[in-house]
Amino acid sequence: MKKIEAIVRLSRFDKVRDALAEIGVKFFTLQDVKGFGLQKGTKMVYRGSVYDSDYIARLQLDILCSDEKADEVVDVIMKAGRTGEVGDGKITVLDAVHCVRIRTGETGPEAV
């Protein structure tokens, strides 16, 4: 079992979701995250001061899948999420030692 965490642009989210659906990933978990760093955010103006926003807004998708499927999922996200501009995001793959579906108690690949 793998847990894949993908950080993508808001504007690419629709594409990524649809691409995932095509390869049979029909459910994932989503959260709003902020990319925080030293490089530039977005130009902002407030009461006469021009400044950069501290952070950039990104979406994080958490996807559980079987070990075999992981590469395909990463691939698909990479293709659908890419614009080529700085800031396209990252995909991290973690090992999940265990996974349970609360409703049924199924574990492992059947649970996702």
């Binding site: 642009r9 808001l10 709003d32 902020k34 952070y55 950039i56 807004a57």
Partner: protein, 418 residues
């Protein structure tokens, strides 16, 4: 006074009464935002929906029967009940205009000003039963309450009924509007029960409202509207009377804030905004019965006491497990009764006899209003059911009753740039 000048005065009077009508109208927005601010995010659409419907229902039912129940004219017997028929019909010519109220206002002005009042009374209940009552039975309740109960008790005094004959005084409705609404709210809450999770074995678990700015907007708008509520109750633009009412009303509201400020500091060692806001309302409700009878000093005292009552009253109702998310019972019922009694304690009418009369009046109106509401709620409970399911209460009434959210969020719009 010769005719042309009389007509000019009539015009000025009527302008004031219409301005007052507009001000009382906007109290509905005040109630809406106050109540919306004091409920959880998941029940905001529901409370706004109820408030929008109540003003509609209030006006339409007042046209159907309310006005003629409340002001039946000389036709009623015994002073307890009378009805002048359905719908409205302006008396012809001067009888509906300059002669209608001694050049104070027209027939139509009378109707619309009183109609706005009526609707406020029903609104008081809506906040107290928030976050757990089903929409349809609530609307039925509001319709019958504003169509029948409010005009009947209102008639007892303002329609020239038995309380009026007895010498009971209630200038702008501490009892007839506020305590009546508050008693109905209390009855409704008792039948309905508290919100899930409020009173637990380990004590009271507060359920904070979701937006203090909305609540504060509500209180300021209510104060704003109160200038019309009390100022319009002079029933003319009489300069001395209306301006005195402005002074007493404002000072009582200000003193209410100060009273609540100090008492809540004493009791909770904290500066609780919700208490100060309720304190302002308490001061306003308190002065309403005698706004034209007091000098500034007395009005400050009345407001100060009303504001000081609020924190005690809120805590008391919570101890009694009367769950009222917006404090309607404390503000409208308790301070309404206080204000009614204050007419016998301070000001031009002070006197032991008057205190007794005031007490009788307040109790009679509250008793009727409570009984009517209790019975009606009980009947609704037995028939339609009045409480949403536990699951819906958790999900929120916005999704449960309206399939909507108050603050829909697009994916990722919390931070809108990319």
């Amino acid at each position: 006074m010769e005719q042309a000048a009389l007509e000019a005065t009539f015009t000025a009077n009527n302008v004031w009464m219409l301005v007052s009508t507009v001000l009382v109208f906007i109290m509905h927005l005040g109630f809406s935002t106050l109540e919306a601010g004091f409920v959880q995010k998941k029940n905001v659409v529901n409370i706004l929906f109820k408030n929008a419907m109540i003003i509609a229902i209030g006006l339409i039912t007042y046209w159907i029967c309310g006005f003629n129940l409340m002001y039946p004219g000389g036709d009623f017997a015994g002073g307890f009940f009378g009805f002048a028929g359905f719908g409205l019909d302006m008396p012809e010519g001067a009888a509906g205009l300059i002669e209608y109220a001694d050049a104070g206002y027209t027939y139509w002005t009378d109707f619309i000003f009183q109609g706005m009042f009526a609707a406020t009374c029903a609104t008081i209940v809506s906040g107290a039963v928030a976050e757990r009552i089903k929409l349809e039975p609530f609307l039925v309740f509001a319709t019958l309450f504003v169509a029948i109960s409010y005009p009947i008790t209102g008639m007892w005094k303002w329609g020239g009924g038995w309380l009026d004959a007895m010498g009971f005084y209630d200038f702008a409705g501490s009892t007839l509007v506020h305590a009546a609404g508050g008693a109905a709210a209390l009855a409704a809450v008792l039948v309905l029960g508290p919100r899930r999770g409020k009173y637990t074995d380990s004590g009271i678990k507060p359920i904070p409202g979701h937006s203090m700015p909305l609540a504060a907007i509500g209180v300021f708008l209510l104060w704003f509207g109160w200038f019309g509520f009390n100022g319009g109750s002079v029933l003319s633009a009489d300069p001395g009377a209306v301006s005195l009412v402005f002074v007493t009303t404002s000072l009582a509201a200000a003193a209410g804030a100060i009273g609540a400020f100090f008492v809540s500091w004493m009791l909770f060692k904290s500066h609780d905004l919700s208490m100060v806001l309720n304190g302002i309302l308490g001061g306003l409700v308190g002065i309403t019965a005698g706004a034209d009878q007091m000098l500034p000093g007395s009005s400050i005292l009345i407001g100060l006491i009303a504001g000081a009552i609020i924190p005690f009253s809120v805590v008391m109702f919570d101890k009694l497990k009367v769950d009222d998310p917006v404090g309607a019972t404390s503000v409208h019922l308790v301070c309404g009764i206080w204000g009614t009694l204050a007419v016998g304690i301070f000001g031009a009418m002070a006197g032991v006899g008057q205190i007794v009369t005031q007490l009788i009046g307040a109790l009679a109106v509250c008793a009727f209003s409570f009984a009517f509401s209790f019975g009606l709620m009980y009947a609704l409970k037995a028939t339609m059911g009045i409480r949403v399911s536990e699951e819906e209460e958790i999900k929120g009434l916005d999704i449960g009753e309206h399939d909507m959210e108050a603050y829909p969020e697009a994916t990722g719009d919390q931070i809108a740039f990319n």
